[in-house]
Amino acid sequence: MASSPRAETTRILADLESGDRSAAAKLLPLVYDQLHAVADSFFRRQPRNHTLQPTALVHEAYLRLVDQSDEKWKSRAHFFAVAAKAMRQILINHAERRGAAKRGGDRHKLTLNEELTPAPRHDIDLLVLDEALSRLSNLSERMGRVVELRFFGGLTVAEVAHVLDVSKRTVEGDWETARAWLSRELSEVDSP
C-alpha cells in the first residue's frame, strides 16, 4: 500500500524525534507540497481584502499532515521548524523570481520612520527581510533561527526553545534583540 503523506509525515517526525537530523530534509518536500495545496484552496474562496499570515498556512499544513491524535508536543515543534524553513524559501524564491523578472532588482525598502499619522501601511519587502535575516544569521545563527521559527513558522517562545534546545529566556532575549536589529536594518532607507 502506498503510504499517504500523513503516514509519511508521522514516520518522519518519529525519526526526527529519535534524533535523525537528516529526516528534516525528507519532510521538506512534503511540507512544500502541502503549503501549496493549502494556499491554493485558500485563495480560491477568500475575499481579496482578507488578511493572511504565513503562519496560518503553516498551521493548516500541519493540521493536514500530522495525525494529532497520537502526536507528541515535540513532533509539533519539529514540524513547525521545518515548515518555517519551507515557508521562508517559498516566499523568498518567488519574490526573487518576480523581482528579477519585473524590474532588474531595484526595490523599496520598508520605511518605519515616517510620520506617525495617519498610520502608515508597513508593508514588509520580503527580499529585504530575507537579506537582513541572512546578515543577522551571520552575526548570530541562533537569533536568525529564532526569527525564522517565530515569523515564518508561528511557533511560540516555548516551542522555539524546545526546537533550539535553549531556555525560554534565551529565546525571548534573542527575539527582542533581533526585532530591534531588524527594525534598524529595515528602516535604513537607501532612497535616492
Binding site: R44, L52, Q68, H122, E176
Partner: protein, 1196 residues
Amino acid sequence: MTPEDFERVRELFLAARELNVAGRSEYLDQACPNDPAIRKEVEALLNQAGEAKNLLEAPSQFAGLRSEIERVFQSTDASPVPERIGRYSILGTLGDGGMGVVYLAEQEHPRRKVALKVVRFGEASRAMLRRFEHEASILGQLDHPGIARIYDAGIADMRTKDGLTARCPYFAMEYVQGEGIRDYVKHRKLGFREQFALIADICDAVHHAHLKGVVHRDLKPGNILVTEDGRIKVLDFGVARATDADMQTVTMQTEVGQLLGTVPYMSPEQFSGISANIDTRTDIYALGVICYELLADRLPHDVTHVPIPQAARIITDQDPTALTVVDKIYRGDVDTIVSKALEKDKNRRYQSASELADDIRRYLADEPIAARRASTVYQLRKFARRNKALVGGVVATLLALLVGVVGISVQAVRIAHERDLAREARRIAETQRAEAERQAAISRATVDFLNEDLLAAADPYDLGRDVTVREALDEAAGALDGRFPDAPAVEAAIRVTLGATYSNLGEHEPARPLLEEGLRLIQAELGEDHPETLDAAGYLGLLYSRLGMIEEAEQLDIKTLEGRRRVLGEENLRTLVAMNNLAVVYQIQGRYDEAEALLTKCLETHRRVWGADHPQTLDMLTSLITLYGDQGRFEDAEELAIEMLDARRRTLGADHPKTLTAMQNLASFYAERGRFEEAEPLFTTCLESRRRVLGEEHPATLVTLSCLAGMFDDLGEYEKAVTWSTEALEANRRVLGEEHPQTLTAMTRLAYLHARNSRYDLAEPLFVRVLELRRQVLGEEHPRTLQALGHLAFIYSAQGRLDEAESLNTKCLELQRRVLGDENPATISTMITMGLLYKRQGRYDQAESMNLEALPLARNVLGKDHPDTLSIINNLAVLYRRQGRYEEAEPLYIEALKAHRRVFGETHRRTLNTMISLAVLYRNRERYDEAESLYIQALDISRQTLGEEHQTTLNAMNGLGKLYRAKGEPDKAEPLFVAACAGARRTLGDEHDLALVFMNNLGALYTEQRRFDDAERLLTEVTNVRRRTLGDEHPDTLTSISTLADLHFSANRLEKAASLFAEALAGRRRALGEQHVYTLDSMYELGTTYRKLGRLDEARSLLEETLSMQQQSLGPNDDLTLASSYELAMTLIDLKKFEEAEQLADELHTHIIAAHGSDDTHTQKAIELLVRLYDAWGNPEKAAEFRAQLSAESSR
C-alpha cells in the same frame, strides 16, 4: 562586527533596555568603556526598541505580505465549472465553501433546483468513501423545516465542457433562497427579542438533528439562512462529519479559508484535536457564539485576525466579555443563558439544544429559566464528578450509619428484654421495641440502598472500581465480627451485602467467606426457603461461577432455582434470574443444549409475563445471544442482537449504556464474521457515545476501543491496532488495576494481536503475565487460567519451543478434560492447538488422531460452521496434504473453503488462508491452472484488504512463486520470492518461520539459476537457524538440509551433497515414514548422487527400492517414478548390466510416451538413454537407429 561582539551587544542591549534613559548611559559607560563600536550598536538598537515592538507581529504589516503570498501560490486557476455531475446539470456556481464548491444544479426527476456541494477529497481512501456514504445515508434521514434537506449523496462522474471526467463525492441539497442570518437581522432591524426567538428556532432544527445522532460541527451565521417569510434554514448539516477523513476533528480537513471563517465559532474541545471530544454540545457552543454575535453585534472572542494557534488559546482560556458589559439590557437571564451556552467545559453547557430553546422561550414568556435553577444541582454534580471518592465516601458513611443504627437497635432490644419483667417499664419497653423495629427497618432500607443504588453503580463491569469503596468495605467487614451476637438475621444481611459488593467489584476472595457465612446464618435463622435465604444463595452461586467453582455453582443454582420456583412461583422475576444464572453455568460447562433449553424457556416466560421490552427480558436475551455466539450460531445471534439493539434504543434511548452494550455486541458479531463494513460504523458510534456518556476511560469504553483495535488488525492495520489496543490496556491498568479480569482480557487481546501477526516475541511476555495473574487471582484450575495456559502453549509452539509447548499443552488438555470435560469449547480449542503442535513436531499420526478426535466433538458442541470446527477441517486437510494424501485432503479443503466463504466472506483472512492452502494442493498435483487462478485471486484480495507486507500476502506471493518455479518459469518466480523474503524479514524478523520458508525457496531458485553463491549463503543461513531453533530432525530442517544438498549437487560438490542427502533421508524416514513422498524424493536424490560418485551398488539398491515404492504409491507414469527409473537405468549401464538396463529403458520409453506423448523432451531423454545404452553395449546399429530418431525429433 564579529559574532562575539554581537553577543556582547545582545547582552548589553537586553540589560540596558530595562533601565531608564539616564540609567542606560550610565550603565553603558560602566559596561563598555572602551569599545565605541559596540556601544554605538547597542544605542542604535535601544533607539529602535520602541519601533520594533510591533515588527513582525502587527497584522497591518501583512497586508502586503498577503498579496505576496497570493502571487506565490496562485499558480493554478480555479477549476472550470463542470457541465454535469451525475444526473445533475450544472447551472452555475453558488459559492466556494469550506470543503468544496457549491453549484446550483438542476435535477430532472423530480424536476427541481438543488444546491450541489462537491466535496474535495485530498486522497479518497476506501474507508473514507465508505464513511462518506454511511454518513450521507444518515443525513438523508434529517427531515425538519429548519434544516436544508439532503436529497441525495453519492459519488458521481463530474464532466466538464471539455469532456474531462473525474469522480467526486457530492451532496445534493435543498436549494434555499434566503438571506444570511446576520444580514437578515440587520436589514430588518430586528430587536433583540426577535433575534432571540430566531435563535430558539435554530435550536429546534439543531435539536432534531441531534436526536438523529447528527452533529453539525460547523454552525456559523454563514450556514444559517432566513427565508423571505422569516423561517430559518440550517445548511450543511453533518457535512463536516461526513467528509471527515480519518475521524479527525473538523479542523483536520477544512481548508484555511474555511478555518478562518470558522474559528470564532469553534468550541474549545474542537481545538483539542481529538474528534471523540466533539459531540452535540459542540453545536450548543456554536449556537451560543451566534447568539452572542447577533445580540452584541460582535464576537465573544475577536479572533479573526489572530493566528490560529493563538486563537485556540484565546478561545480555550479566556472568558468572553459578558453580554451585560456590552449592553445592560442583557443583564440577568439573557446573559445567563448565553454564558451557559458558551461554557468552556461542555458538561456545564446546556446539554441539548432543546434545553437552550426552552430557556430562551421561558425568558421570552417571562418565566424563570432553568439555567438558574440548575446551578445548585450542578455544583453538587460537579463535585461528584470531580471527586471520584464520593461514591466511596457515601458508602463509607452509610456503612457507618448502618453499623451504628443496627448497634443502637440491638442495644434497644436488649434493654427492652432486661426490663421485660418490670411491668411499669413495659410501656417504655414497647416504645423501645417499636423504636428498635423502626431502626431495623431503616437498616434494611440502608442495605437495599447500598445494594441497589450505590453499589450497583459501583459494579466494575459497569463503572470501574473505586478504591474508596474497597476501603469502606474492608473497614465494614473488619467491624463485623462479634458485633451482632443477638441479631443473626441483621448480621447475615450485612454479610451478604458486603459479600455481594466485593464480588461485584471483582474481589472474589474476600467475598467468599462473607457470603458463605451469611448464607449459613440466614438459613439457620429464616429457613431454607425464605426469600432472603434464596437471595443469599443466588449471590453465592454467582460468586462460585465467577471463581470458576463450576460444580459448586451448579449445585447452588439448582437449589436456588428450585426454592424460588416453590416459594415465588415460576413467573417471578427472581425465579427467572435464577434460571438465567443456571443457564450461564451450563454454558460455561459447554452444556449448550441444556443452557439453550433453559434460556429459551426463561425468555419465553419473561416475554409473556413481563413483556418483550421489559429490561430484564432484554438482559436474558443478552445471555441467549452470548450462547449462540459461543455455539458459533452467528446468524441466530445476529438476528437477536439486532432485535436487542432495536429494543434498547426504543426503550432506553440511543445513549443509554445498555443500548451501547447491545451495539457493542452486534458490532462484535459482525467483526467476527468479517463483516467489517457493518461493524465499523457501529463500533465507531459506540466508541463515541461511550466516551461521551461514560467517559474516556470507562471500562466499557475501553472494551470498545480494544475491539475496534482488533478490527483494524483484521483490516491489515497492525500498527494502528497495536497502538489502540495498548492504549486500551494501559487505561484498563490505570482504571481497574492489573489483576482485574477486564484488564487481563485486554492484555490477552493485545497478545493475540501480536500472535496473529507472528510477533511472538511481543505476545509471549503478555501471555506469561496473563497466566501468572490468572493463577494468582483465580487459582490453578480455573477455566480462564487453563485458557491462558493454552495460549502460552500455542505461542511456544509457534516460536518453535516445541518441548515447552508440549508440556504446557499436555497439562492444559489434561486439566481441561478433567475440569470441563471433553465436550467443552475450551477443551476442543486446546485439542486444536495440540494437533498443530504435533504437526509442527512432524508427529503426523498423533496430529491426525488428535484432530479426528476433536472434529466430531466440535461439530457436536460448536456446530458445523463454528470457526474452531472449520479450523479442524483445515488442519486435517493440511495434514493430509503434507503426507501426500491428496485424495483425502481435497474434499476437506473444498468443504472448508465453502464454509469459510459462507461464514466469513470472500475477503476474510481465514478464507484467504484456506484458498492459499488449497492452491498448494493443486500445485502439488500439477493442476497448475487451478492453482494459479486461486493464488492470483488470493493475492489480489490480500493486497487490497491486508496490504502489501501482510503475512497472508507474503504467503500468497511465495506460493505463486513456487507455482511458477514448478511450471519452469523461474523468471516469474524470482521477483515474487525476493519480495516475499524482503517483506517477511522486514516485518517478521530474520529468524521467523515464514521468512525462513521464503528464503529456502529463493535459495532453491538460485540453485536452479546456477547462482550458487547466492544460493549457498541463503540456504546455509536457513539451515543453521532451523537446526538451532527446531532441531535437526524437524521436517522443516530436513527440507532445508535437502535444499542445501541439492545446491551442492548442482554445483557438482557431490561428497557434500551425498552426506546432506543421507542426513535428510534418515531424518525423513524417521519423521515422515518410509512411504512419504518427501522420503522417496530423498531416496531418489541420494541414489542419483551415489551414481554420480561412482558408488554404483549403493545407487542401484537405493534406486530400486525407490522405484518399487513409487510405482506403488505414485503409479508407473508419474514423473517422479519415471525419473527414478531413468536414474536406475543409467546406473545399470554404468554397472554394465545391459540386459536389465535395456528392459528398463524400453519400459521407460513406453511409459514416457504414455505420460507425455512422443514429441516431448522427456521422450528425447528416453531415446538418449537408449543411444547411450547401445553405445556402451557395443551395438552401433541400434545406437545409430535411435540417433536417427533423435535427430528426426529435434529437426521437427
